[in-house]
Every structure is written in structure tokens, then in C-alpha cells.
Subunit: 380 residues, 4 copies
């Protein structure tokens, strides 16, 4: 696959060839032998990112039940240490309880009609054809199951959410293909003038308010009760101080017109997603959620995260590639049957991150911690 030609032919520039020569002698030319077909085009090697591990993290979930060490790929100093601190507190407190409320993925085509009347009739009657539509959709896939259709009329068009179970795969290719097939049938059997297979409603790889209601990925909650002495010894603060921090920063979120509330979900998500071969762009939707802190009557802390759109997979995509597979194996999450387990571990990890970040703010140690573990350069 001689990429140089492409570069030369189209631009006459030699910069790229030069770059490629450099790369040949560089660390990106690892000796490992990936089967890259299907994952990337114009490959020149592999990007590398420091990989650390944080733990132990006890998870008391339905699918994940045990103690885990979580691989985190990052270049942000103090991040692994920060998550690890939260994990230690949670594990010492007995662990994190996790539950998966919804486990779906969706594509939302939009059907266009001549007028609001036709759109209304379509939306009112679509369910009558559900079985046929499902048969059409599922004829293209072994793993995707069409669970239901939801209509959102807007003027003379109707957005239809096709909600699927995708087993352990991310499944976007799968369900787009299935939906495309179903749309063709619908177009042939309705007054719809045309259809766009994407309406923008599903919020794939985008943040949006509607994600809070779930449906794009797994809706997971993770919660833990932390006795005040554990909050004190691990997070150097009190449940009351942590809650005050929550209260004040909730106001900041409101003022910013944020979606939900969280400290830094994106940090943990990015680190795990890169390590474990997830589609990293799904951070955009997966980072939507709500962290809640409460002081119990006994003066302890109940902390939770709610992740309505956690998009993870253990088969397909990048999950089988080199270090990604190794990282998933570290968690016992490689391959079929493990996506729900992996989702619970991710949720528990994010809870750890929220606690540690919250503790650093409440105890005013944030700057100090980043001085200690952070960038060792004179300044950056």
C-alpha cells in the first residue's frame, strides 16, 4: 500500500513521503502485525499513548462482580492517580453498585411528506406495520434486534427512532444497514416522499439534551455509600463539604447551560476508550449524564453517576486489535457476552473520578495534586 503515490500524484508535495520515511525508522512502525483492513485506510503505523492502570476497584454489579484494575491511556499527569484515589475510597467502602436500565442503540431516519395530514396519518399507523418493518430490518443482520419504533413528528415530517438491541457490538454499521433496508420498504408502502437515514436526532457522537432519556447506548447507574471516615481519609474532606461543592458547581453548570452535571466524565471515558479500542468519538454522547452527591441522615456520603448514553462494545470495531484486546482481557471483558460487564466497570470508574475530582476541589488540593503528579516540565 504505497501511500506516497497518492500524495505525489495529487499534489506534487514531497512532504508526506518525507514524513513517511521518518516514520519508517520510528516507533510507529511497531513489529506487530495487525489486520488493519476494515479499521483504517492509508495506514502508516500506530499512534501510541502512555498506558497506565488504576485500581483496585470493587464493582458489585449484575454483570461485573469483583475487583478490577482499569487500563487508562492518557497523557494528562495526575489522571491515573486521581482515578485510583477514588477507586481506593470506593473499594474500601465496599464497592460500587452498578445497574443497567436500558441497553439499546438507535438510528433515527426522517420521513418527509406533502403535508401535516399525511405525516399525522403515517405517525398514527406506523406501529401497525411493526412486524413487517422488523422483518425487513433484521433480514440484514444476525445480531441486531429491532425492539420498537418511536415517532417524533415535526411539521410535515416524522422522525422515527429505530431502537435496537445490538448485543455486545457497538453496532452502528449493523443498525444503519438494517434501518436503511426497512426505510426502503416504508418508502414503498407509505406516502413518504423521501427519507434521510439520519435525521440528527439520535445524537450519535454528539452531546444533546435528549440523550438524558437514554436510548443511544447503555443507560447505567453506579452508586456507593461512603462512610464519612473514608471520605476523610481518602478524599481529605467531609460529606458536607463535598456536597457544598456539588451545590455550588451545579449552579455553574446551569449558568453555562450544560447538559446534566458532571465533573470530568470525559477524562475517564477518553482514557478507557483509547485503552480498550472503543470508538473514541462516542465520548461526545457518552459524557452526557448526571453526578449526584447526597449527605445521608447519618452524615455519610451517597454518590452516584447516571450515564444515559454509554456507548461501549467488546466485539467489533477496534476491540480486537493488539493492545485493545489485551486491555479488555485485563478486565475479563474481551469478546462476546461482556459488553454489559464492561459498561458497569466503566460507570464505576467514572464514579471514582467524580469523587476524586470533587474531593480535590472541596479540599482545595487540586492545584497541589497537579503540581505533584502533573507535568514535570518547567511550565506548560
Amino acid at each position: 500500500m504505497d501511500r506516497c503515490d497518492v500524495g505525489r500524484i495529487q499534489t506534487g508535495s514531497f512532504r508526506w513521503c518525507l514524513a513517511k520515511e521518518q516514520l519508517k525508522n520510528s516507533s510507529t512502525q511497531s513489529p506487530w502485525n495487525w489486520c488493519l483492513r476494515g479499521n483504517i485506510e492509508n495506514p502508516i503505523g500506530a499512534a501510541q499513548m502512555p498506558l497506565g492502570v488504576a485500581g483496585p476497584l470493587r464493582v458489585n454489579g449484575v454483570h461485573a462482580d469483583g475487583v478490577f484494575y482499569v487500563p487508562l491511556a492518557t497523557t494528562e499527569g495526575a489522571l491515573v492517580r486521581s482515578y485510583e484515589r477514588g477507586m481506593a475510597a470506593l473499594t474500601r467502602a465496599g464497592g460500587v453498585t452498578t445497574r443497567i436500565h436500558v441497553d439499546e442503540n438507535r438510528v433515527a431516519p426522517v420521513f418527509c411528506f406533502d403535508n401535516v395530514s399525511d405525516a399525522y396519518d403515517f405517525a398514527r399507523c406506523l406501529q401497525e406495520d411493526f412486524e413487517t418493518i422488523r422483518a425487513e430490518a433484521e433480514s440484514t443482520t444476525h445480531h441486531g434486534k429491532l425492539l420498537r419504533l418511536e415517532c417524533h413528528p415535526v411539521g410535515r415530517e416524522v422522525i422515527v427512532s429505530f431502537c435496537y438491541s445490538t448485543a455486545d457490538a457497538h453496532g452502528m454499521n449493523m443498525i444503519v444497514k438494517a434501518t436503511d433496508r426497512a426505510c426502503k420498504w416504508i418508502i414503498d408502502h407509505s406516502k413518504a416522499r423521501r427519507v434521510y437515514v439520519f435525521s440528527g436526532f439520535s445524537s450519535e457522537k454528539r452531546a444533546s439534551g435528549s440523550l438524558l432519556a437514554g436510548g443511544k447506548g447503555k443507560k447505567v447507574t453506579a452508586g456507593a455509600l461512603l462512610p464519612k471516615r473514608i471520605v476523610k481519609s481518602y478524599l481529605h474532606t467531609t460529606p458536607g463539604q463535598l456536597f457544598d461543592m456539588w451545590h455550588h458547581t451545579v449552579l455553574g453548570h446551569m449558568q453555562a447551560n450544560a447538559i446534566g452535571y458532571n465533573g470530568h466524565y470525559a477524562n475517564g471515558l477518553a482514557a478507557i476508550f483509547i485503552a480498550c479500542g472503543q470508538d473514541v468519538a462516542n465520548i461526545a454522547n457518552s459524557a452526557v449524564g448526571v453526578t449526584n452527591l447526597e449527605v445521608t441522615e447519618a452524615g455519610d456520603l451517597y454518590a452516584s453517576v447516571t450515564l444515559p448514553s454509554l456507548t461501549v462494545a467488546t466485539v467489533g470495531g477496534g476491540t480486537g486489535l493488539g493492545t485493545s484486546r489485551e486491555c479488555l482481557e485485563m478486565l475479563g471483558c474481551a469478546g462476546s457476552g461482556h459488553a454489559a460487564k464492561f459498561a458497569e466497570i466503566v460507570a464505576a470508574t467514572l464514579l471514582a473520578g467524580e469523587l476524586s475530582m470533587g474531593g480535590a476541589i472541596a479540599s482545595e488540593e487540586f492545584v497541589e495534586a497537579h503540581e505533584t503528579y502533573g507535568r514535570n516540565r518547567p511550565e506548560d
Copy 2:
């Protein structure tokens, strides 16, 4: 680097050690020699991700002026090809014009008062002390410059945005430290009862509506005029069809309560950020923006992206590490003085991605393209 001890001591579990033994013989133990201190804790090696390159991309910016080949790390089949298609169309059309409107970063502490009256007095008079506050803040940093303060009163508290220039660094550690120093001075010289250095308002690593107004990173616009014949030959559609797609999917974004509008900024951002050693979690804020398509009177297409919170750096963080530095070098963006150039290239790349994705939807080739270039496994 003996991680085993930590694992053993705290949990008695041997799983991690076992995992580590596996890793020793694996591809994560690359022979290259990173200086990891400051970038990660508990390091065990490097995560690897397939690295491709897309181009040529002509950029006519103030800082980036030339033809570029953009490194993209991804595991999503068809992604590199898709971006490259958009780049080819743009380059053939004469290139992408890019401009940086705002170049800042900010931290937004919140100051708490006894009542709304004290909060009001504080907000009204804070600017009087600006020079002193600036001196305090800048005493901790050589590169960070405090540009201004913005007050957002909420009841009896006042969120204060500290807006900085951070040169070519991401600069969060830098400006948090500076702000922390300034806050101490303010606490000593005001009626503020307490301060939290983070209020949640700045939306660091979170999506929020307020980001559209800029201030967290670079606000960049990128636009191009594409003659209809180029739209036809490269994107297999027409300006009118592309715009119809925009129109209908804007409604879907509204229905989803999305922030702004975009097709898949997160895809391009993730791929470049991983390749070039950026803080990948900043996808959450950087993916907020607005893609616009317009049909001109002559029937051609004007396409643009507006990225109000593009957070990129060419020094500090992960930018100097192994493959990251090589990738930045491929773009001529390694080291000081290149962050603005890099930002312009990123914006142009995202525009390419929007066009290609939009074209695939408008021409109904999306499914087919993913079949051809996508996952080669039986199904995923």
C-alpha cells in the same frame, strides 16, 4: 515501574500481576523510551491505535497556509477515506479559508457571599482591582496572560471567568495555578466567605451551550466555496441536495435538543487528538459548534464550520511524546508558535468531514461506503 506491589498490597489480588506478565511479552512493551514522568502514573506501556493519513488538504489560513496531510488515529473503517474525500473536494475547489476569532482559555471560580448585596458590590467593583489581580495571577507563570475578568452573579454568589492567553499550550494547569493564586488575594481583600476554584461554568471537558460564545480554547471558522461540478464529481450530489439534507437534519438536532449543529465533529477530533497528543477528553467541549451549508445565487455551495471551543496545543501535555510529536511534525506544527496553525488545520479537516458525511447522506451512499471500507468481519 513495579506496579505489582501496589496491586498486592492493597488487595492481595494476583490478577493484575498476571496481566502484567502477559503484557511483558506483548506489543504494549514497545522498545521506545518515553519520558513518562508527568504524563501518567502506574505506567505499563503504551496503547496503540491504527494511524492513517488523509490528504491533500489545502488550507488558506492566517497561520496555516499550504497543503497538508493529516494524521488520523482511528479504528473506524471508512473514516480516513471519508475525510480524505472531503479534503480532495475542498483542495480541488481552491482550499479552505480559516480564521481564528478568539484565542483564550479560562478558569471560572465562584465566590460566595453573605447576601445578594455583598455579591452585587463585589461584581460591580472587581474590575477596579484588575491590575493587582493580574499581577497575582501572572506571578505564577511565564506564559499565561490574564486578559480580563467576567462576572456572572447568581444569587449571593459570583462566578468570575478568568480569561487567559496561554500561548501554544493547553494551559489548564498553568491557569488553574494562576487563578488559585489570584483567588487567595481576592479572598483576603473582599467580603467573599469562600471560593471554589472551579464553578463548573468554564465547561472544561464538557459540552455546554455557553461554549458557543467562545472563551474556552480557540474560536475558529473555516469555510469554502465549492462549485457545483466539484460537489457532483467528489460528493456525488448537488449543492441543493446537500442543503436539503442540512435543513432536515437541523430539525433533528432541534428535536434532540442538541447544542449547535454538526455531522460528526467528534470523529475528526478524536482521530487528530489521539494522533497528535492532544488531551482527548477535550473532545467534549471542542465538538460543540455549528456547520452551515448554503447554496449561492450561482448554484454553488458555501460550506463552513464554526468551532467556538477548539482546545489544541503544540507544546506541553502529550504533544512531545513519541508518535504524537512525529504527527505534529508531519503538519509542521510541533513546538512553540504553532498552536494557531494547528487549530486552523483541525478546523479545515472537520469541514472536510462534514462535507463527506453530508454527501454520503444526501446521495444515499452512506451504507454502501461503510460496506466497502468498513468492518471486514462477518458482522459487527
Copy 3:
């Protein structure tokens, strides 16, 4: 009901008594004899607002089918004329087609649990008790029908939307009472520690993104096809120019982080709600929606409004009082069996307002129109 005493006793101020004396001789002391009990406390008379009428408006709905003259109470000069202009255009074009997709009202209590596990079990099993819960709820009301329950888990709590049919009444008192009864049963038969009958989720009298999905009031669409010559003669612009206006102002809505898109729903809603004895505070939720404009292949205009949360009633509340009842009678909408009809007329009216405002902006006549019909004072 001698209100003076209250004033004197508690404050010693005579201002209020003075004011009341003035009122005695003023227009607020109309001779009409309202039965005010149940509608207001501390009554001193009636506020008055100029009442105009706009029409004719042809509506081709399922419930409203005919030509209507719509009463509008306002003090904004040009408003009635503006709506009337849109109505004339729509009526001339054959009228407005209206459809009601959803007709519900809801209350959303929140149930608190000890941990995420209990919350999960509750959310998973609640539907099993639906019939019992419905019986409890409906035991308090003759008209309210509980249609379904929807669970939204957030950490260790679960928001439950109780969705009702409330016939022709607004029904908030009705369904809050019913829900309160049902909550008591649930508390007795679940692990819920406590319940708040309001969680804030239902967005009663507040704007919110989730309203776009409907459920708080009637979800109504209204649309019409306007030939380009009618657009020209009535709105002094072209379909293309109107659409360009839509396109550019959609970007402004995005930039403002608005919910949906509309020109000035609140104007029409306020004017009708005041005239017809609606709960005027429901403007806050009713004004959420999406106006869409499209140029057809023939070069004509298709215009629509989508109102997902239109809260109107024809019985109860202020609907039976004096001028309100007269105004409802003008529309043939007074009393039972007319709420859906009234909703369709309101939606058609708002569409008229959107067209007229849009036309004024597109044709640059906005300032001129307000000069002509607007405030006749030297300046205001």
C-alpha cells in the same frame, strides 16, 4: 372582604387603602358579577386589557373545521394586524391543516431510595402494579384517566411521569391530586424512602428541551401550502426569501442556545390566553416548538408549526369567567368537548403569526409596520 384591615394591621401603611379607594371609583369596579371564589383571593376588581379580533382564519382540522375570528387581548400595537395578515394569506391559500398527535398532561413525582439497586428494582417492576396505581389515582377524579407511567432513573432516585388524559380541562389540580393519592400507595408498597409529588421534570409553566417530545399538554401540528403569488401579495416577499430568513435566524437560535425555533409564539399565545381565560403562565411551556418553512419543487411555500406542549382548556380555571367565556363562544369553543378544537385554532393562529412576522423581516417592512400601527406616542 375588607382587604384594608390586612394592610393596616400588618404594616400601618395607608397606601393600599388609598389605592383601593381610587379603585372604587374606577373602571376596575365593573358592574359585572363574577363568582370569583376559586379563582382568586383578595379580589379588588378586574384588570382590563384591550381586546381585538383577527380573522378570517380558515382551519381544516379534525376538530376545528371552518372559518374563525380569533379574539386577541394585547397592548402591543400592530400585533392584531400582523396576525390578521397571516390569517388572510392562509385563508386565501385554502386554510391551515391541523392535527393533534398527543393529548395528555402529566405530573412527575420523584421517589427516593437507599441505593441505585433499590431504584433499579423499583423502575423495573413498577409497571406490574400499573392497574392498582391507576385505580388509586382515578379514585380521586371523574375526568382524569391515567394512561401510563414512564420511569427516569437518576442515581438512587426514580422520576416517574404520570401521564393522564384530562378531557377538556387543564387539569393540573385534578392530576396532582390523583398522583398524590397514587404516590401514597406506592410509598406503602415499595422501598421508596420518600416522594416529592413534583420533581421539576414535567416542566409545568417552564420552558425545557424535553417538552419537544410532548406529554405536557397537546402536541399539535399546523401546516399550509402557500402559492408564491399569495406569498407575494399578502406577505410582500417570496418563498425563497422567506426561507432564507428562516435559515439565517435558525443560526441565531442555535447561537442563543434556544429550544426549538419560533418567531414569536409567545405573542399569539399571550393574546389568546388572556382573551380566552387560559392559565397565562402556561405560555412558558406552550411557547416551546418548531416553526419550519420549506420551498417546494414548484417554488411555493410550505409552512408549519409544531407545538409539543400546548396547554389549553375550555372548562375549569378561568374559562367560564365573563369575557373569557364570551371569547371562547366567539370561537365556538366554550365548555366541554371543545378543547381539541380550541387547540387547533390556536395552532393555526400561531402559524399565521409566524408567517406575518417572517414576511415583515424578509421584506424589511418590520420597522415600517410598527411605525404605522405601533405606538402613537412621540416615542416609547
Copy 4:
């Protein structure tokens, strides 16, 4: 005032004339003599709404300093009583402190350019012409003062917020006219291809996230410290219970993707706006804000409201009409020089409403209160 002709000519319908005959003998034909020209077209009389009064309310503002009785026009039983309860608690606690942080109104035209480069140049240089632009704008008005311009570039267009002081008037007509003039000058002296005087960004009569930052109307805060015994005796709950209610309902607001947080601002706003001749449609933007409750270290309650976009006037519009003027006089707010005072009273009133509603929810008396004071009909 012969509306019949219009109706007859255009439709041949006699329904309207019939209705008008009815109206002639009805309460809408009050004997009072309004000067309606400039306020309404096609007038047929006056809509009437029950008018009550709530108080005493002590306000300790900069502009409003004293005890007030607030006129409230509503048909919602229990509303006046509810607000009065909150007022009594606040007054007993020493009153409400109010402050106005920003006092502006704005219009936000959008300028369109050929490419992002021209848009960039425009946005960068616009301030250089500020004095000229101001002179143009202010040439059309005696009262409006152009304070500054703010640019929001989006692709190849630039939204420009024209921020004005409008003295005691609402001032939309005034500032739209002024802005229109300024836009003409700008079009003549820039590369702008065209301008729309409204971009949708200013959020006039619409809810939007950007309103939280202020600029459309007055940004007002109102706060009060309520000792726990007053909370107990007036609101039948404790500061802690009130705060718990706040905490849980904040989560509901998040889940609903609401803007800010409030219990029922729209209720108080509608009642005052109707009574006092305000533009009632401005509820849509004025109801955006943040209510905050805090338990102090001493166990008392600090409550506040923040209203970033309170749009009120004491001259112009409907403020001089009949009962409206009387109501403003009751507050000592009629005519020039009183808009700021009026805004402070409104803010204090809304705080009272939030406390009373919050107390009813926290103490679980909500249903009971509406049973007692609410609708006296068998059911509605």
C-alpha cells in the same frame, strides 16, 4: 370601530357580527374610554381578568425601598394566597434585598458576507466605527442609548448584538428602529451582502440558554435570610427540608433539560404583567432564571432568585392604560423613573412565590392548599 365591515367583506360570515352584537350588551363594553390607538387594532372592548392583591412585601432595594402590596391578575385559585404567604414570611424576616446588575435591551441583526474571511475582517474592525454607528442609531431616538456592540461570528456571517439603555420603556420599537438605521449605514460601509435586523439571537419573547448571561432586559437578583422559626411558622417546614426539595427538583430540571431552575416564575410574572400593563409575551424570556436555596451554618435559610432577562417598563406600551396605570400607581411605579423600582418589586415577588411553592412541596401541603383555595367546582 366598526369591525363588522371587515368581517363581512372578506368572508361573508355573519358569525363575527353576531358575536359582536352579543359583546355590545356584555361586560366587555365597559364605559371607560381608552385611547386605544397605538395599542391594538380591530378593538371590540376589553378582556377582563380577576385582580387581587398580595402583601405586605418589604423590599430593601436600591430603587424600591419600602412595603408594597402587589396587584396580581389571575384566574388560578390559591395563587394570590400562595404569593402572599411567601411575602409575609419574607417581610417578617426583614424583607428582600434586591439588586439590578444589568439594565439593557438589545437587538441582534445578522450580517451576511461572501466568505469567512470577510466576516472575520468585519468582526475584527467593527468596533472602530462604534461612534459613528452609535450616532446613526441614536439619531432616531431621544431615550435609547447604544452602549456597545458584541459580535458572534457563525461561518461567513456575523451576528451583532446592539446593546441599549432604554430608560423606563420596554423600548423594542425604539431600538429596532435605531438598529435598522445603523444597519443601513453599516451595509453602505462594509462588505456585508445583506442584513436581517433580527437574527433570532436576542431571544425576545423566547426562552434560551444565552439569556442567563443577561442583556435582554434587567438582570436582577433578590435574596433574603429567613430564620428557621419563620420558615417553620410561615412555610410549615424547615430550611433543611426546603433545601432537600431544591436538591431533588434540581435533578428533575436537569433531566428535563430545563434552562436554569425555578418553581413557577411564570405564575407571578403573568399575574403582575397582566395587572400592570406589561408586554405579557415577555414572560417567555423573563421566566428564565435561577432560584437558589441554602442552609446557613446557623441552620437558617438563604433564598434567592436571579432573573437575567426581566423585561419590564413603566412608560409606553400598555403601561398607561386604565387599570394598568392604576396598578402601577399602587406600587408607586407609574411613569418615568420607576422601571428599576418596579423590576425590584417584581423580583421580590417572584422570590415570595418560590418560597411558598417550595414550602408547599416540602411540607406536602400542596394538594391540600389547592383543595382549600382552588377551584370550587366539583372538579376541573
